[in-house]
Symmetry: C2
């Protein structure tokens, strides 16, 4: 049995989406059990709407909620009765709990993860790794997408190691094509940090490094993992999401412009909706945090039930494949190799 703890509050659609997603996961995955943290009365009321195996779900009462207005460090330290802090404490104290899913503010989840759960020995910085759809119907991971605004080349090498293992373990991609985000594809491109990182990743025999990539090729399906510093990774993720959203919005506006376009839209609706679905992050779960001692998945703040279900599935897959242990082993190996050289 894989035990995942779900922060039932936080997020725009909480606790409804959080709980609906949890029930879906419970009904789809047989060897999963879930602990929900949050206001017990409200959670019980929500749960009453569904049919599920009650033996595999439990509630831990936490009356408080961390909001986006809370300062992360203060909230983690002082809001001890919040659904997120309770969840983190439980995760820390109980070996049998594998992972945590939360859609609370990124800052609070990151701070809490580092302060309460801690880094895997040897890991310099945990990194956020969201998964995006490509136009070929595949997926691409971005590591780091914003946890570390300032990076050195060693961090980038570790992001490559962790992201590579994540795609192998949680997505069964045998030999992920790993690229380094840069301002050109040539080996000598970029600042000194990226030049050094290029050489470090290239020298790592466990990684199928395909070289530098330009941000314009993110969605082409040519790469499985993009390694980047958290600043440019954040720019990459948000500009891609933003451009897709704006363009789809423009198309929607065109479709409803007049009677003629409405007729055309009616004919095309189903097919264009497929594109919208393809680009909808709700179908791809959240950003996982790589490098902490336990599995942590941070979903979008406006996650709906489907996104929540996907996040839980991600956490389940990470736990089932013992990703944290694999990262610990690989980082230890690299660290000892470097010490011997």
């Amino acid at each position: 049995m894989i035990k995942i703890i779900v922060d039932a509050f936080g997020g725009d659609n909480s606790p409804m989406a959080n709980i609906e997603g949890s029930i879906k996961a419970l009904n789809k995955i047989e060897d999963l059990s879930i602990i929900l943290t949050g206001d017990e009365t409200i959670i019980k009321k929500e749960l009453a709407k569904y049919t599920y195996d009650a033996n595999r779900i439990s509630i831990v009462h936490a009356p408080d909620v961390i909001t986006c207005d809370d300062k992360p460090t203060e909230a983690i330290k002082h809001k001890k009765e919040s659904s997120l802090v309770k969840a983190l404490d439980l995760l820390k104290e109980n070996d049998e709990i594998g992972g945590l899913v939360s859609v609370s503010s990124t800052g609070a989840v990151l701070t809490g993860a580092v302060l309460k759960i801690g880094r895997i020995p040897g890991v310099k910085r945990p990194a956020l790794c969201p998964i995006l759809p490509t136009i070929k119907g595949g997926l691409v991971g971005i590591c780091d997408s914003g946890a570390n605004a300032e990076c050195d080349s060693l961090y980038l090498h570790q992001f490559a190691i962790m992201g590579n293992l994540y795609l192998q373990k949680a997505y069964n991609i045998e030999n992920p094509r790993v690229a380094l985000l840069n301002i050109g594809t040539e080996e000598e491109k970029g600042d000194s940090i990226h030049k050094e990182a290029y050489q470090l990743i290239k020298a790592n025999q466990a990684i199928n490094f395909v070289g530098n990539m330009e941000s314009r090729d993110l969605l082409t399906g040519a790469y499985d993992l993009v390694v980047c510093d958290g600043f440019s990774g954040n720019v990459l993720l948000k500009s891609t999401e933003g451009a897709c959203l704006e363009l789809l919005g423009l198309i929607k506006k065109t479709f409803t412009k007049n009677l003629k376009t409405k007729i055309g839209a009616l004919i095309l609706k189903k097919d264009v909706y497929k594109i919208k679905d393809l680009m909808d992050y709700n179908n791809y779960g959240g950003a996982v945090l790589l490098g902490t001692k336990k599995t942590i998945v941070k979903g979008h703040g406006n996650s709906k039930a489907e996104a929540f279900y996907q996040c839980i599935k991600q956490a389940y897959n990470m736990e089932k494949s013992q990703l944290c242990q694999a990262i610990a082993d690989e980082i230890a190996k690299i660290t000892s190799e470097n010490q011997n050289n």
Copy 2:
């Protein structure tokens, strides 16, 4: 009369597009004269296709061409008979020539501009500033989009000054809304360079600074100028272009999927083409280089005639509004203020 020199070679569609665009500019702008550099025989043959005022066009023979395979610094130093180097030499030596338009490789144009033309006194680093369309039908500039992979906060402040003047002078935007690209909108976001840059730009009374912006909002029309380091600016530009291209490609594929979708597409074609047009950089010219002693516009390598015309119009507007002088004055003012403090 504004005299612009056009590198008639370099680029995927040269010299045809370069020359067709030049003729269009000549026929549209009365007080413009153009010097074309490149193989005289080929240029003359192309020119014979068009009707134009022959008094306002001249050719300077340059038989060689710089390609993307050439190393920028070596090409600028050794390919003295190339259309780009000849153009740069002419620009440098003749006070009456106002600016240069080239679609040769970015590296060669940048290197040539710095080595041959030089920086405006006080300017730390020239920056590339392309203009993108927004979904509201307006424009947004990105400064720097890739000339400087490594930046400090002073560079970023200067990019804000130069980009602000560019939008005022060449696009008649009275009070451009200037934002700093960051990983969140809050004042304290980002690395130390961005935090420092935030304070420098905020303190500059000549700039309408609206704070940090996230890359997802680039196309919303909320900003006139995005200030960024060349690394993340390059990621921003290319991921936005890439996402739009991939999504439009997906829509095109959907439209031709089967008879039903083809009928729908037929009805919507005109309206969707409008979106495609809106997002087509060919309609918005090239990236201008800000901070060099003379006007330099670098167009996309695959510019068509329309893009070329837009680039020449940009160079003309910059020259006509005496942008280089305005930048020189403002940088001198800021430098002396800093020395007095």
